[in-house]
Symmetry: C2
Subunit: 331 residues, 2 copies
DNA sequence: AATCCGGGAGACAACGTTGTCTTGGAGTAG
DNA sequence: CTACTCCAAGACAACGTTGTCTCCCGGATT
C-alpha cells in the first residue's frame, strides 16, 4: 500500500482533486464546510503532499533548501558557522544540506554539483580547492563564499579582516618588547593564510622573524615550534595563524616548559583558551557573525537582488588573556 | 530561458526522448554512436536531469538523502557525530539534511516532519523532546536514535554505556580514597542523564554523596560547584556527568583554587582536556563510532532489513589524565 | 422578471521523467 | 527465399501536483 495522493483525499472527502489542492495550499476560495471535510480526510489518511510533483508543476521553482559546504563540520569554527547559517535558514523555513570537504578539491566540485542538481536555492561554500572556475556554469544558483575567497570565480564573499587582524596580533607582541616574532602558518595555497601572512609582514616592516608555512594540523605545528625554539637564536614570541596551529604550539611550549616565557598570540579563538595556563591571547574571529551575514547575503540573492559581487569583511577582536602579554626577556 | 529538458537534448541530438533517458540512466541498449551524440548534446546544453520529475515517475522511491537531527551542530560531540554520519552517507552517495534542535521539543517534531516530507530515505535523531510518540505515524521512514533513547516509540538506538561508564568513573574516584563524591548532572528528563545517575548510585552502593541535578550549561554548573564546595561538609571529589558541566566545574575549582585538591572525573571527553592544569580525567564517549554505527544501522534498514528494534551500546573509555587521580586528604 | 455578475468548484492539461508496449530492420535458421 | 528471432529505438501513458479555463448557481441590478 503506497502513500496516499491528493486523489485519495478527494475521494474520501467527496470533493474534486483541485479542491483538495486548494485547501492544502491555503487558498481562500473554498467553503468552510468543504475545507473541513478535506482536512479531516487529510488527517485520517495521513496525507502529505509530494514535494517532487509539486515542484515539478509549480512555476516558482523554489525548493526552500540551501546547500552548505564547509571544511569539516566537526571543527569548532565550521560548527559555529554552520549553526548560524542554519538559524537564518530556519527563520525563513529553509532547510540545509550539509557537506564536509576536508581538503579535497574533488569533493568540493562533486558536492557543489550534486547539491545544485538537487535544486538547492543557493549555496554557501567555504572553498577548499584552489580553483572555483567550475562554478561559472552554475547560472541561476546564487553562491556565497565564506571564510576563504574563491579564485577564478566571483561572488559575494564573507571573510574576516585577516590582514588587519594578523597585524594587530603581531603589533601586540611587539608592544610587549618582542623583536623576534615567529610566524607559524598554514598552507599558502589558502587565500586566508596568505592574508594573515601579509598582516604579519606589514606589522613587522621589513624585519620579519623566522617563518614556517605549510603546517597542517596540530602535530606538525608542535614539531615546528619545537624546532624553532631549539634554534641558536630562538624567537621570543610566536604568532600562530590558525586554530590547530595555536594548539600545537601550546603543546610544544608546555613540553619545553617555555609556556611562561615565550609569548603567544593565535589567530582564531578556540574553546577553553581561557582555561589554559597561561590563558591564550587570540585574535578572535566571529564565525557566528560570518554565518549570519553570509546567509543574509545568500537569501538576498535568492530573493532577486542582483548587484555586483560584494566582499564583506567581518572584524576580528583581540582578546588578551595572558599568553600574549609575556614581556620579552634578555634580547 | 529556463533549464533544458530531456526533450531539448533529444532534439539537438536528433534522437527520441526515451533514448536520452536511456543514455542518462546508463542503460546498455543504446548504440555507441547515438549515445555519443546524446552525451555531446547534454554537454553543450548543460543538461541536468530534474530529480523531482525522476523521483515522481520512478517506482523505487529513493531520494538518496537522509535527515539528521542533532542537539546543536556547533557543539563538539554533535559535530563529530555529524561528521561520522556524513562520511558513511558519502560513501553510499547519499546526502545529509541537518537540523539543530537546541532543547526545543517543537522544533524536533517540526523538523522530523519536514524532513520526512522531503522524502528523506531515513532519519537519525538525537531526541530532545520527552516524547517521541509522534513518530509512530512515520511508517515507511526508517529511524535510528543516537545519544539518547526515545520514549513512546521504539526503533534502533545507539548510545554509550552510560550506566557502566558512570560507575567506572565513580569507582575510579573511590579507589583514590574518596568517600564524599558529588554528582553534578543534567536535566533528569533526559534518559541518558538518568542512566549516568544510576551508574553513580550503583557504584556508591547506598551511600551517595551530595547530588545536584538540572544543571544546564557551564554557568549553572560553575555556580553549583561553588555552592557545593562552600558547604560545611564539602565533597572531596566530583563526578560531572556531561561535557559543559565538567567545564563549569573546572572553572569553579580554579576560582576557588581547589583544582589541585579536589578530584574530578567528567563524563564525555572534550578538546584540550589534556592541556588543562591538572589535565582532566574523563570517561570518554566515542561519538565517531556512535555515528558510524548509527548510520550503518540506518542504511541496513533502508536496504530492507526488518528485524526488531535493536539497542546498540558503544563502550566508553576511562582516560586518566590527572584530575581524577588526586587522592582524598584528611577525612 | 430578465439579465448580469461574481465566486466557488470541477475538468483538463501540463510539468519532466521513466515503465511498458510497439515497431522495424538486421541477422539467422530452415 | 521465407519465416522467425532479437534487439535497438521510438510512441505513449503515467507519476502527483497546480495553473487555467469553464461551468453553474445564487444574489444583485435594472
Amino acid at each position: 500500500m503506497s502513500r496516499p495522493t491528493m486523489n485519495d483525499v478527494a475521494r474520501t472527502a467527496g470533493v474534486s482533486l483541485k479542491t483538495v489542492s486548494r485547501v492544502v495550499n491555503g487558498e481562500p476560495t473554498v467553503t468552510p464546510d468543504l475545507a473541513a471535510r478535506v482536512r479531516a480526510a487529510v488527517e485520517t489518511l495521513d496525507y502529505r503532499p509530494h514535494l517532487g510533483a509539486s515542484l515539478l508543476r509549480r512555476n516558482d521553482r523554489r525548493t526552500r533548501m540551501i546547500g552548505v559546504l564547509l571544511e569539516d563540520v566537526s571543527n569548532p569554527f565550521s560548527g559555529v558557522l554552520h549553526r548560524a547559517i542554519e538559524e537564518e535558514a530556519h527563520a525563513r523555513g529553509v532547510h540545509v544540506l550539509t557537506g564536509s570537504l576536508g581538503e579535497d578539491e574533488r569533493r568540493e566540485r562533486e558536492l557543489a554539483r550534486a547539491f545544485r542538481q538537487r535544486q538547492t536555492d543557493g549555496l554557501i561554500i567555504a572553498p577548499t580547492g584552489s580553483d572555483q572556475t567550475y562554478l561559472s556554469r552554475f547560472t541561476g544558483t546564487p553562491i556565497v563564499f565564506v571564510d576563504r575567497q574563491p579564485s577564478g570565480f566571483l561572488a559575494d564573499t564573507v571573510v574576516s579582516t585577516n590582514v588587519a587582524g594578523a597585524a594587530v596580533a603581531v603589533r601586540h607582541l611587539a608592544a610587549h618588547g618582542h623583536r623576534r616574532i615567529a610566524f607559524l602558518g598554514d598552507n599558502q595555497r589558502i587565500p586566508t593564510a596568505r592574508e594573515r601572512f601579509r598582516g604579519y609582514l606589514q606589522a613587522l616592516g621589513h624585519r620579519p622573524g623566522p617563518v614556517v608555512h605549510e603546517l597542517r594540523g596540530e602535530a606538525a605545528a608542535e614539531r615546528a615550534t619545537i624546532a624553532l625554539l631549539r634554534r641558536a637564536d630562538p624567537p621570543t614570541a610566536l604568532f600562530t595563524s590558525q586554530n590547530l596551529i595555536t594548539i600545537g604550539a601550546v603543546r610544544a611550549l608546555r613540553r619545553l616548559d617555555r609556556h611562561r616565557s615565550v609569548a603567544l598570540v593565535g589567530f582564531d579563538d578556540f574553546p577553553l583558551a581561557d582555561l589554559l595556563e597561561p590563558a591564550v591571547t587570540v585574535v578572535a574571529q566571529h564565525p557566528a557573525r560570518i554565518g549570519r551575514v553570509a546567509a543574509g547575503a545568500l537569501f538576498e540573492r535568492i530573493d532577486g537582488h542582483d548587484g555586483p559581487p560584494r566582499e564583506i569583511r567581518v572584524a576580528t577582536t583581540l582578546i588578551a588573556r595572558g599568553s600574549g602579554e609575556i614581556f620579552a626577556t634578555g634580547n
